[in-house]
């Protein structure tokens, strides 16, 4: 019942896409049609559908699985759908992001430099289809409809990446993106082909029932990791992500970063935990290693960015790494028969999935608001926005704190849970996990610390300090409808951080379905909270081992802050005077003397540079007597791009060049080819007995 309602919602989304196309056709050439709010009706409709859908999926989280077959696609396969705990959870994440992005889009469209206000015709037809694709992937229950939805999702988002198509970078980003997306589709296709076997049983139910050989399982897992990793942004398959995500309008970037990468995580979970039988420990270790590397490299690259949205996109890479660390741990623990630990690790990963969807959407909305206000994505042109965009800056700060894993917000809880799972690693009997898991813990901690550094930079350079450009100096707060979802998501960041038990208990059905065990019941809600456990407290394993109480921490901080403030009010002078900045007595009025995004990250670049980045520095010192300033320039180039992307591209180019003369031969030579082929085939005939 719920499943049909959800599918009906998706169908309406597709119809909305068509309506959007018609709307776009009526305003030919994508020219603005009077009011800036074109398409508001569409976004409103999308928001209500996805909102209802989010609630429905939340409600069916603990319900028994529902299935449905539609007579579409290939007749003997059909389109199978299934709503179980895993899909319900991910659908909730998807629809939560989608609903808030849709509401944001209405306000975003009204704003001054709104990302799509100038080209609504290029957004409206594809946006609802993108949402539909996201939802369909999660609900699909056979390889065909899964890949159909998967590619549809990629395709629609590709079109959205190309909204600013006049920018050649956008077009390039779109091409790289779609190529990687298609690569991921093909890898998954191969994976499903393996799992389906020669008989071609593409239904997930059949794959679940089958017991493939160990080699098949291993190959399928590798393919699944590569295929979903290419979509999720696992290093080194991530290179498209920081190109494509920022290029789209901000509400779409939010969806791509916050939601679409989660759908890839979903795909991996579905394949690795559900379709393939119990994996071996080594596969979990591979996932673990890849996750750790992804987390650290993602954040290091993020630190080097000064385009706000690109920074956020690289952070998505980092967070995907964290999620995959959790997943890898769950795989290792499950293979080792540690059900409770596997449940902990998996819950941590899923928790982080939810968290990242929330705060990454929030941050992208914030960046969209900034872009709409100043017309610039470059952080070096911002500054001081906290004075003019108060609500935006507050929400963005919440998002920054959450993504930096600061208590009492949600990001901390999931990372803390991941740490707790990591701390259970040394108890495993094998040497591989024993050594790798603590190392991964160090990587995770490094990533978390660097993330904090990065978001100090992101928030500090963008919102604090003095305006670095004229546009930033006159920026105005963004539209109210754009603010509403930001406030909502900020509230969710706080809620999930303060009542983590509620989230953990809600995830229990998912964890039971995937690893056959759950975490201990936490104080989900007051009415079935076990006696003696405080409301906000979570106990991952045992109370004596570790515990965390988000609500109490919040209350404590609140109380102590009030105490400090009251104390100061009582004891201290109330006098306050505004004056020019002190700056050690040398106040300089030029905002250019402020720390920039690049200079902020300079120490980290210098330290990690030799390892990770290729940096070409040029120093230009003017000749003696010249008053021109000396300049130092760093050009960062991505080592991973050079290792993993450039050679294949160069190979294709070389082959294309080498083969190209075949177009310009004489007829005689072409005849010679035919002749050679004939003789060759005859020789084959003559020589084969």
């Amino acid at each position: 019942m719920i499943l049909s309602a959800l599918l009906a919602g998706i169908l309406i989304l597709v119809v909305l896409g068509l309506a959007g196309a018609i709307d776009a056709v009526r305003a030919p050439g994508g020219a603005p049609r009077g009011a800036a709010g074109q398409g508001a009706w569409l976004y409103a409709a999308a928001a209500s559908i996805t909102g209802v859908s989010a609630l429905l999926s939340l409600a069916s989280l603990a319900a028994p699985p529902e299935t449905l077959v539609l007579p579409l696609g290939l007749p003997w396969i059909g389109w199978h759908f299934r709503l179980d705990a895993l899909s319900a959870f991910f659908l909730f994440v998807v629809d939560l992001g989608a609903a808030s992005a849709s509401v944001f889009a209405i306000g975003y469209g009204r704003a001054r430099h709104g990302g799509h206000a100038d080209e609504p015709g290029r957004v409206l037809p594809f946006y609802p289809v993108f949402l539909a694709g996201l939802g369909l992937v999660v609900l699909a229950d056979d390889a065909f409809s899964f890949l159909f939805a998967w590619e549809l999702m990629s395709l629609a988002s590709w079109a959205l990446v190309l909204v600013r198509h006049r920018d050649p970078e956008s077009v390039r980003a779109g091409t790289v993106y779609l190529l990687m997306a298609v690569l991921s589709g093909f890898l998954l296709l191969l994976c499903f082909g393996l799992l389906a076997g020669p008989a071609g049983s593409y239904g997930f139910a059949a794959m679940r029932a089958a017991h493939p050989a160990a080699a098949t399982v291993a190959l399928a897992l590798v393919l699944a990791l590569l295929g979903t990793g290419a979509k999720a942004g696992l290093v080194p398959l991530h290179a498209w992500l920081p190109l494509a995500h920022p290029a789209a309008p901000s509400h779409v970037s939010a969806l791509m970063s916050g939601v679409m990468t989660k759908v890839a995580v979903y795909a991996f979970l579905r394949i690795a935990f559900d379709l393939i039988g119990p994996p071996s420990a080594w596969s979990g270790l591979v996932v673990l290693a890849v996750g750790g590397l992804t987390a650290v490299l993602g954040v290091l690259y993020a630190l080097m960015q000064h385009d706000l949205k690109r920074l956020l996109a690289y952070h998505t890479v980092e967070n995907i790494g964290i999620i995959f660390i959790g997943i890898g741990l769950a795989m290792v623990f499950r293979a080792g028969g540690e059900g409770a630990a596997a449940a902990l690790a998996l819950t941590a990963a899923l928790f982080h999935v939810f968290n990242h969807a929330v705060f990454k959407s929030l941050l992208f909305f914030g960046s969209g608001a900034v872009e709409a206000a100043t017309g610039e994505r470059d952080m070096e042109c911002q500054g001081g926005l906290i004075h003019r965009m108060r609500t935006t800056s507050f929400c963005f700060l919440i998002g920054c704190a959450a993504i930096s894993a600061l208590p009492p917000l949600n990001g901390f809880v999931s990372e803390w849970l991941t740490f707790q799972a990591i701390l259970l690693g040394p108890a495993l009997p094998d040497w591989g996990p024993k050594l790798l898991i603590p190392a991964d813990g160090a990587l995770l901690a490094l990533a978390a610390a660097l993330a904090a550094a990065c978001f100090v930079k992101a928030f500090g350079i963008t919102f604090l300090g003095r305006p670095r450009s004229a546009a930033a100096a006159v920026a105005a707060e963004t539209d109210r409808l754009a603010l509403a979802p930001m406030l909502l998501l900020s509230g969710l960041c706080l809620f999930a951080g303060v009542f983590p038990g509620a989230v953990i208990d809600a995830l229990a059905p998912v964890s039971r379905a995937l690893v056959g065990a759950t975490m201990p019941v936490q104080g989900l809600l007051p009415w079935h909270s076990p006696p003696g456990v405080p409301l906000g407290a979570i106990v991952p394993v045992a109370a004596a081992r570790s515990s965390y109480d988000g609500l109490a921490i919040l209350l404590l901080i609140g109380a102590v802050t009030t105490l400090a403030a009251l104390g100061a009010r009582r004891l201290a002078s109330h006098a306050l005077r505004r004056a020019p900045a002190w700056d050690c007595g040398f106040p300089d009025q030029s905002p250019a003397t402020q720390y920039t995004a690049q200079s902020f990250a300079e120490p980290i670049r210098r330290t990690f540079g030799p390892l990770v980045f290729g940096v070409a520095s040029t120093i230009r010192v003017p000749p003696p007597g010249s008053t021109a300033p000396a300049r130092i320039e760093h050009v960062l180039h991505d080592r991973l791009w050079e290792i993993f992307y450039a050679p294949p591209a160069a190979l294709v180019r070389r082959l294309a060049d080498a083969l190209n003369p075949l177009q310009f031969l004489t007829i005689r030579r072409y005849l010679a080819f035919v002749f050679a082929a004939l003789v060759l085939l005859l020789l084959v005939l003559a020589l084969t007995p």
Binding site: F664, I667, R668, F675, V679, L682
Partner: protein
Amino acid sequence: MGFSFDIAHLLAGLMVLTSLLLLYQDRIGALLNVLRLHGLVLALALAWQAHLQSASDLFLAATIALVVKALVIPGALERLVERLAIHRLIETVGGIGPTMLGGIALVALSLRVMLPITAAADAVSRQDIALALSVVLIGLLIMVTRRNAVGQVAGFLSLDNGIDLAAGGARGMPLVVELSVAVSVLIAFIVIGIFLFRIRERFDTVDLAALEEFRGERR
């Protein structure tokens, strides 16, 4: 069998021999003469088959071969050479010696390919097919090794003669006449095409760059 087989065999063998002769020629005049011979031998072979199979339509085919392939087309080619003032010497690729060796290797190949044919197939067709295959292959070889339109047409013609030979040797094959007419039309088209479009060296040029000017990509 006996005598009738021997004659058929002889004529088919002659076809291969003439094909090799064609391969050997590097002067247009001689080439065209050999081509005439080729057509003539084909006509004879077809006629002999017609006699053997007492198939009247094969006589027609033989006549067509005689008229079109031994007379009209070589004649037309000769006119072409005069009108377009084509160089009398045909530039070949790879030299005559290796080409001849290649031709002989092709004969060997076609025999090897056709050897496994079961004895159930009658001896005439077994021989004919093997030799016809050689003629076809040598025809292609001629096309590939001649840098000159006329040389290539000659190659194509001899290839076609090989096919006719095979068709004639296929006892009771229907539509032989129609097919041979169709192929003759094809060749006529080629010749007319050369006339019409003044394609002198379009088959080939020594200078690749000159040719590329005509390719759409380099416009």
